[in-house]
Amino acid sequence: MLTNAAGSVVYNQAFAMSAQGMTSLDVRTLLSGASIYDGMISVIPMADGLGNFPNLASDLITYYRGTSCGIASTSYQKSATS
């Protein structure tokens, strides 16, 4: 779930992941058309049909690719889990 700086939800989508798997999401694509520059991404595990919650870990990597990717500064952000 993505929220903008005002706290409004601009994207909310559920998707399945396989066990011991990793997926990478292009946030610019997710936000296509939305005028959001600063905000927050919340990754919320959902229970399966048996009521079991998955064990997830999430990283947000921010690339500054520009036109060169040369001395691209790259930031990494991670929050504590609730």
């Binding site: 798997g21 999401l25 946030v27 990494y76 929050s79 609730s82």
Partner: protein, 153 residues
């Protein structure tokens, strides 16, 4: 980059060998995921590193690390392929010995391997079944990429 001790005997990281550059001159850049394991204990300990690809365990290595020492392991394209991204599981000693697991994802030019074009620190996590919140910005032509790993079996 955070310097954090991990108390649990288990933690995980993600690796990714897909280079993110959009400049055609950087096509085919080499991506290396360099893992550091540090044993903060007062005696030698054994750590097991598991590399998973597409849900299948593709590589396992057992590392014996002396007290107060570091060992490195590189997960590169020759080991997992050039378009791979998945999970690394790290199992430390179960006696409560504190250790650090951290990774830096380096990008190097294929035409000039000594030239590094990015370095991304990745901090290990044992995962959680609770909500995780991450700060987002798209300012200054930023390209945020969200990597989620499901550590459940």
């Amino acid at each position: 980059m955070q310097f954090r001790q991990v108390g649990s005997s288990y933690t995980s990281l993600s690796y990714n060998t897909i280079h993110p550059c959009t400049n055609p001159a950087h096509s085919g850049s080499i991506v290396e995921n360099k893992l550091s394991l540090v044993n903060f204990g007062i005696s030698s300990k054994t750590f097991t590193v598991e590399v998973v690809k597409n849900g299948t365990l593709v590589y396992t290595e057992s590392l014996s690390i002396p007290a107060k020492s570091r060992r490195g392991l590189t997960i590169n394209q020759s080991r997992v392929g050039s378009t791979a991204r998945d999970v690394i599981n790290i199992f430390g000693p179960s006696d409560g010995t504190q250790f650090l697991a951290q990774m830096v994802r380096y990008g190097r030019l294929s035409t000039s391997p000594g030239t590094y074009i990015f370095a991304i620190p990745i901090v290990s996590s044992p995962g959680s079944d609770g909500e995780t919140d991450l700060l987002l910005t798209r300012r200054d032509s930023a390209y945020p990429a969200l990597e989620i790993r499901n550590l459940s079996y």
